[in-house]
Symmetry: C2
Subunit: 324 residues, 2 copies
Amino acid sequence: MHSLNDLQAMLERYAQKHPFPEEPPMLYAPCTYMLSLGGKRLRPLLALMACELFTDEVEAALPAAWAVELFHNFTLIHDDIMDAAPLRRGKPTVHTRWNTDTGILSGDVMLIFAYQHLLKARNDHTAAELVRIFNRVAVEVCEGQQRDMDFEQRDEVQLSEYLYMIEQKTAVLLGGALEMGACCAGASLTDRTHLYHFGRIAGTAFQIQDDWLDTYGDPVRVGKQVGGDILQNKKTFLVLKALELANEADRATLRQWLRTPADTPGKVKAVRAIFDRYDVSLQATTAKAQLQQEAFKHLDAVKTPLSRQTLLRQTVAQLLDRDH
Amino acid sequence: MHSLNDLQAMLERYAQKHPFPEEPPMLYAPCTYMLSLGGKRLRPLLALMACELFTDEVEAALPAAWAVELFHNFTLIHDDIMDAAPLRRGKPTVHTRWNTDTGILSGDVMLIFAYQHLLKARNDHTAAELVRIFNRVAVEVCEGQQRDMDFEQRDEVQLSEYLYMIEQKTAVLLGGALEMGACCAGASLTDRTHLYHFGRIAGTAFQIQDDWLDTYGDPVRVGKQVGGDILQNKKTFLVLKALELANEADRATLRQWLRTPADTPGKVKAVRAIFDRYDVSLQATTAKAQLQQEAFKHLDAVKTPLSRQTLLRQTVAQLLDRDH
């Protein structure tokens, strides 16, 4: 069995063996730049771990794993344009360093290259299966991004709509990465499907935890300003749950705060006071824990020796246990 | 054998049987809108004609044909953003009717749906082959678009660079459409390759004709203002050939005109005078005719009865014979 470090090293070697072309530089330099910004490479690592549940030949999943990473980076380049985000991982975003046109076209070609790697599967049947899974997930990611943008324009968003949005926008890709890794190992459809749901549900739990950390996390450990979501009037799990539970007066007050500018004095404190009145923090951690449990039931159902599951179990559990 | 009308009707039926989803509307309505703007559907028709060179079951190529049309429309949506084009076929472009973010995301999902249709091939081997051809061409189209944008920023562009750019940006997709249609019919690699080159070279000839028509065409028949390319300082075959052939004085004069605003009085007449001095019109029609001949040699080499080739021959010959 490989360690996380082993898998990371394999992935970087694969990436270095498959660089983008050099010409035309204005098309490909932004792709190389985006990938050089690093990140945890969580999605491709999940694909490799899923493969290793079934076979020692984890190399079989490298192209699909890298395809998922390219897809993820393609979405980041285009999302950064839509969000008008100046920075990503502390560095200028592609459209900031170059321009919007470059961001659009480099993102496009990165998506096409993702499919290129899927075609490196050991046979055409597996390649077609991988494209099928990839496509199903990719469509959902686009739909999730659209819903997220739609929500910004709307006054009323239900919590259930929000949960579906985060599932589509970010969680299904984790599920898809696992499913594709298992597919590369020749796993059964049942096992592949369980792994998909494991990733999808754990991914949703992860997003709820992310919302929770932004308001209740330790700023030193979280590594960013606490309350940022509140300041920016983001419709998070916490806000939508509070709107669901609050009495009419508190709901009206909360809605009023959600219309104020980011720098309104006393905003974080006042909104947190409403959250606390309705135990929204506990609601979030409970929802997260329930999803976590549900997710791991799917992993339990996968027919593979427990010894092969250690790394995947530990990695996902650690991701979901940042309760500080 | 089917007529052009038959094939067009089959294609529209296929499109109507495979509409985009309804939700979320802001993602998919722009896709449906873009496709409703019409156009000749030249690329998917070429795919169907190529299939019919080898088999009566032209239906086998419908999904791949439609994938090519979706890809083409995806590039149009994104190119219109990059070109800041307000209109397409007389109607508002997607980013004008909605906004840039919508144009980016709807284009993205349309590209993903193109792959979805490729997966509908009769077996996984054909599907993987189709994705391989599609990807090879799609990467070239992105590179061509980048080179086109690069050229706008550059003072010096060689004619050979220009020819390579138009080949990548528009001609290879015609070749790819033919190759994919033949692939769906189970044609040999040799025949597929000849068809690819037929489309690629004919497509380049078509672009040169397009440049020629903009300056020398009959405005009534061409359906647009003659001299538009000259007014907008476009680096066309005519301009680059003139710069190649002209003496130093004329080259300097031409370069000066290329730096003037679109509405400079006497511009079209003055530039045409330089073109005429170096027989640039004849140079263009000769280059086109040579490419046309070269292209049809590839079609001649395809091993299929001449009777099956009539529609494809006629269609491409007609496209290349707009000498007015």
